[in-house]
């Protein structure tokens, strides 16, 4: 043989190569990755616990307390710092120093003056505050309609005075995980069941189609309420599980329909003729060609899970509060929609960008997996 053939990279790798060439989907992907980073490092971006501090001669990382409360060193509780790091560090140890998160705000509480000042009564019996050094400019968060975006509260505050920016930063975890995890569950179940039903047909189809119908018929609300009634602490994970476990039926039906159509095609017969097994035909031959209608509900599903979470919060069945999620923020903005526009605008924009991103990725994926599109120089 004269020339060594270039390595052929396989379907998914090739798709990725194609995907990479597309500008918009790549931007969207970058956005999602950025979101993931924000979610991961949320306490570093917005929080009230120092990232790193020197206190009484040792170095601590109180910020870890956001991930797991035990990771915040117990010395702070013993010294009754009680979440008032700015002032208490200085009060307890004048030599201490600390590196603070980008924004001194907390998604779980309102920032109050006592965080960075001690209340004193002066000789005239008036109340004054002694501020921690370097914190003199800080103000406590306003609440409700007074909480317009400001230098300190970039995106304003909500009714309770919780910082919107901090809530959104920490809420990106929910936004990301609720969407992706629930839809991964739904897609995995939906595609598998739809593929089996559509391809195998016969009694398998009869049984699986009934399963789809049963799940479709059981009202999701009943399931969610039953679950919420049962659990003491409803976490986002539970919601993801419910959304995922109930949300696959549409995907399954679409997959099944597509499989019904594609299995009649000649190349499937050809695959059978070379002795390919069912699993192989389903996964390598049919599924690849059935992606178009299935990618849409998945990419929208990721986005709509975020909205579902918001809707559940609206009805009072969301995750246990305080649950900094975009949905709950939006929801809380509803009560005074004319005044607190920032509670609609920022989370709304974030949801929009995310919906857009997932859809662009979905579109990109669809194009990237379609070899007939690949040459059309983008």
């Amino acid at each position: 043989m004269t020339d060594q053939p270039k390595k052929s990279p396989g379907f998914w790798l090739e798709s990725w190569r194609q995907f990479r060439k597309r500008k918009l989907p790549m931007i969207a992907l970058a956005y999602v990755v950025l979101l993931a980073m924000v979610a991961l490092f949320a306490p570093f971006i917005a929080g009230t616990k120092p990232i790193i501090c020197s206190y009484k001669g040792s170095i601590y990382f109180p910020v870890m307390g956001y991930y797991k409360r035990g990771w915040e060193n117990p010395i702070f509780r013993k010294d009754r710092v009680l979440n008032r790091y700015p002032i208490m560090l200085q009060e307890n140890d004048p030599n201490s120093w600390a590196v603070w998160p980008l924004v001194y705000q907390d998604p779980y509480r309102r920032i109050r003056t006592r965080d960075f000042a001690v209340r004193e009564t002066n000789d005239q019996g008036e109340r004054t505050y002694r501020y921690a050094k370097g914190w003199e400019d800080y103000q406590e968060n306003p609440s409700g309609v007074d909480g317009k975006p400001s230098r300190q509260n970039w995106f304003g505050v909500n009714q309770q005075g919780f910082d919107v920016f901090a809530s959104m930063v920490h809420g990106s975890q929910t936004a990301l995980s609720v969407g992706i995890i629930s839809m991964s569950i739904a897609a995995a179940i939906g595609i598998t069941i739809g593929a089996l039903a559509g391809y195998l047909g016969g009694w398998v189809d009869i049984v699986l189609s009934r399963l789809i119908e049963v799940v479709m018929c059981i009202p999701g609300l009943v399931l969610i309420l039953a679950l919420v009634a049962l659990l003491d602490k409803v976490s986002n994970f539970h919601l993801m599980a419910v959304i995922g476990v109930t949300g696959w039926t549409g995907i399954a039906r679409l997959t099944r329909a597509e499989f019904l159509k594609i299995k009649q095609m000649e190349f499937v017969t050809a695959a059978r003729a070379i002795g390919a097994g069912r699993v192989r035909i389903m996964s390598r031959h049919v599924l690849r060609n059935a992606l178009a209608p299935v990618l849409v509900p998945i990419s929208f599903g990721i986005a709509s899970a975020i909205l579902t979470e918001a809707g559940l919060s609206y009805l009072g069945f969301g995750a246990s509060p305080p649950n900094p999620s975009w949905g709950t923020l939006l929801q809380s903005g509803r009560t005074a929609i004319q005044e607190t526009w920032w509670l609609i605008l920022y989370p709304g924009a974030a949801i929009f960008l995310t919906v857009l991103a997932y859809n662009l990725i979905g579109e990109g994926l669809q194009e990237a997996t379609d070899p007939r599109l690949q040459q059309a120089g983008h």
């Binding site: 035990g70 309102r110 409700g144 009805l315 005044e339």
Partner: protein
Amino acid sequence: TDTPAADKAGAAPGDAAAEDDAPAKPFKLADLLEPFDPPPLEEVDANANWQDRPVRDGLQVMRELLAEQPAPEITAAEALKLKNDSPENNAKMRAALGRLAPKDGSGVDHNASVTRHVGGDLKSTNPLSASSVTEFEYGSLTMSGILAFDKNFDWFATSETVKSWQTSEDKMVDKFVLRDDVLWSDGTPVTAHDYEYSFKAIMTEAVVVPAVRSGVDELKWVKAYDDHTLVIFHKESLPTNTENMQISLIPKHIYEKTIPADPTLARSKEHSRLEDDPVVAGPYKLVKRTRGQEFVLERREDYYMHNGKQVRDKPYFKTVRVKRIEDFNTALLALKSGDIDQMELRPEQWVTQTNGDDFYENNTKVYDTEWVEFHFIWNVESPFFKDQRVRWAMTYAVDYEELLETICYGLYEQSRGNYHPDAWMFPKDGPEPVKQDLEKAQDLLAEAGWEDTDGDGILDKEINGRRRQFEFTLTTYTTETGIKTATLMKECLDLLGIVCNVKPTEFTVMQEKSRNHEFDAMMAGWGTGTDPFTNQNIFGTDEGRNYGNYSSKRVDELFEQGKREFDREKRAKIYADIHMQLWEDQPYTWLFYRSSFYGFNKKLRGYNFSPRGPFGYSPGFGSLWVPDAAP
């Protein structure tokens, strides 16, 4: 609009669910009552040594009560120009706008109509089926009973229906002489027999009554000696007997035919028809009803006119439209545009959205304190809250300042225990409001043995040989204030090293868990009864509403004493003692008293407030009026 289901049920009386209960119990009127043979009237009269009780006109009572208060500083027109942005303005506006119409009804626009707003649906128009606020509201407009209480919870017989009211000296018998000019809306006169029949129907096992049996079942017997003479026999001599005599009234001449055939009150054709075209005895009559949406009442001319003579005050409105708008934002928009004339405002609506000209253009707003307190209930049986010190630690942990200022928008007052400070039974030197004191809380917890021994930041303690983390669930209704308050508590407890999981819970689950005492802690609220004895079922050992399992011998004894004591002064002392005992034991952490906020259309006048809000008493809604030349 009859469905086969209704027909079938109508044809086959009895309840489907009870079908297989071996020999289905035949319908027997008043089968829940102990047999009793009321003595002849002469005998009753002879033994009673009657003492007269007040027979009053609700509006007149109100006029007198208002007269005791200082005269309004400003006129209504001035009040309507004011903005309600300070307690002073609120007081002025309430006084000015609360003025009642003159007794003779002059200056009242009797052709006016009003559109009210309710949050819940009118499920049934049958007085026996009433169970929720909306139905009792409907009842107060369409029915006129024999008894009522004023804004201070003082009882009287209503002069619209009653000529005289007497109680025997031993408080075991009450006698009413009824007026003969009250007619059902179908023209039949209302008689004492209607009351007797209503009572008996309520006390029939087969008849489905969700709520109205309570209280009435304390009565021994109700007897109509003739059309006008109604005598009520009690089981015991108690100050609370008066309340129990509130019998929901139904027309005997109609229901004695229909109830035996359909004790469910709803399934038969006839009952379905009555649902939408009820026969009423009160000032207004139902003319239209769209379930889940609205119902419309119209003034009955034969209510105040009898044989061409005016025998009662003419009700002020021609039509009363009651709309159900669940969504408070929509309701507020409707109020602003004049689509509805009155609504209860949410606290956040009070502080936002109702301060601009768009609100004041058509409306004004007022508020008043209600005797509704909110609290955390601690389940005394739970391993965490058995210890009184822990409960106190909880009380000290609450950041009241934040709670009142931010969550309650500075609108509410901090609660100081079981009874309201304005109430007559509140102790003279009652407890002072608690201030947050985390150090004290920490110390109390430490005393109770809760300490963070493993350095994970969470308090723990050895209970029954096992180390337990201090982690509990705080259940709350899915209301905004509830969730916010619970969230604040979580934040506060977090500082103490206690994990508190906030769990907003739907009403039914909350109720179920409460009844079964399956909770650690719960955010809840109690409204007030008309009498302090009603709190017995909240704090008495093993009582129905004692969800937190609180038990104190002393409190139990005091309640029993209070129930039998007729003297107001002595009762006040007894209930004050209860108050103090409860405060010491802290089965609850009392948080705040809720106020009620109302938006009214500018045309409306005459609204006043009782500790239960503007409508839950006599005359309540009946005092609202629209001046002749409404602005």
